[in-house]
């Protein structure tokens, strides 16, 4: 037996009302969450903008840092070459002085009687020239520090470049449109330098001893292998 039409309509209305009540109840629960989300978005947007600005500012400073490193390296090299020029000139003057002192001493020794004291002074003068010459040599050798420092600077430059590339990637993710001449700036880093990231000034010979030991062992192994006749 079918339900009368009016009763059916009543049931439909009741069901709709129940559904509406459910929606209202759910909305009551969701609304505070939605408010919180809106609040979160309001707070996060300025933070993201600030982050964008920081990224942009930091990234724009890195090429300058790299250029500065390059300039320092070049200036140190130029200064070192100038020092080497001066040391070479000093070395030549000292050689001339030593020869002159030797000749004078020889001439005096060959000539009339030379007082022993004067003879001693000529020897002393020669020794002084030799000592000065050795000291010039030592300064020259110490200038290897320029090569080591330049490799250390190149290693730092490489790190700066990596950070810059990472920041650029982040800026792209945030769709920062202000990528001013990004590619031009990256080009500044392309300095043709091969370097050892672990270069260091170590003058107590530990690493040289290790090298000597390995060279000896390799030579011993090579000597023990019978040669093909």
């Amino acid at each position: 037996m079918s339900m009368p039409t009016e009763a059916k309509q009543d049931q439909t209305i009741l069901r709709r009302l129940e559904e509406l009540r459910d929606v209202i109840q759910t909305s009551r629960k969701v609304l505070p969450l939605f408010d919180n989300f809106l609040q979160f978005v309001k707070e996060i947007v300025p933070m993201i903008e600030g982050l964008n600005h920081s990224l942009d500012e930091s990234a724009s400073k890195l090429p300058k840092a790299s250029t500065e490193l390059h300039n320092v390296s070049k200036a140190t090299e130029t200064a070192t070459i100038a020092i080497l020029d001066t040391l070479d000139a000093m070395g030549r003057s000292l050689d001339e002085g030593t020869k002159l002192a030797e000749n004078l001493q020889q001439r005096r020794t060959n000539g009339a009687a030379v007082e022993e004291q004067e003879h001693g002074q000529w020897s002393q003068l020669q020794n002084t020239f030799h000592t000065l010459s050795d000291q010039v040599g030592s300064i020259t050798i110490t200038l290897q520090v320029q090569d080591i420092t330049s490799q250390q600077l190149a290693a730092v430059n490489h790190l700066v470049k990596s950070v810059y590339e990472r920041l650029s990637w982040l800026m792209n993710q945030f769709e920062v449109t202000d990528l001013r001449s990004l590619h031009e700036e990256v080009k500044m880093f392309e300095l043709p330098q091969a370097f050892d990231p672990n270069a260091s000034w170590e003058d107590h010979g530990t690493r040289q001893s290790l090298a000597d030991d390995l060279v000896r062992k390799t030579a011993a192994v090579a000597a023990s292998v019978p040669r093909a006749s």
């Binding site: 080497l84 290897q144 090569d147 080591i148 091969a194 050892d196 040289q208 090298a211 390995l214 390799t218």
Partner: protein, 127 residues
């Protein structure tokens, strides 16, 4: 041989200068220079070289690649190659020796060590 001709290979002008000065101090005046491995190979083709002093880290062609290229030439099997480099860890030294450098000096070097290695290697050269 009348005089020993050296080939000094280093991308640093300062280091080339220091090595050449040190060679002169210990009595070797005949020196040819190169700024990287590729240039050094060209120098080897155009000069008779008796001894090579090479850096490792160089652009275009490293000292290690240069050594391998030299050793692949039958005529240059006995050419003394002294590597002078900042690379001082065991793995690097072993790699260089496997590439058949004749001896190895870690920068900064001292003239006595430099002379000692050259003397040792020149004694081993077949006359």
């Amino acid at each position: 041989m009348a005089t020993t001709r050296f080939l000094v290979v280093d991308d640093s002008a300062t280091m080339r200068r220091i090595v050449i000065n040190t060679l002169k101090t210990i009595g070797y005046e005949d020196v040819v220079e190169a700024g990287d491995g590729a240039e050094a190979l060209a120098q080897l083709r155009s000069h008779e070289i008796h001894f090579v002093v090479t850096d490792w880290n160089m652009p275009n062609m490293s000292g290690l690649e240069f050594t391998k290229a030299v050793r692949s030439d039958d005529k240059l099997q006995h050419l003394p190659i002294l590597m002078v480099t900042t690379r001082g860890v065991k793995e690097d030294i072993v790699e260089a020796l496997q590439a058949r450098v004749s001896s190895y000096i870690v920068k900064p070097f001292t003239p006595p060590v430099f002379k000692e290695k050259i003397d040792q290697l020149l004694k081993l050269v077949p006359q």
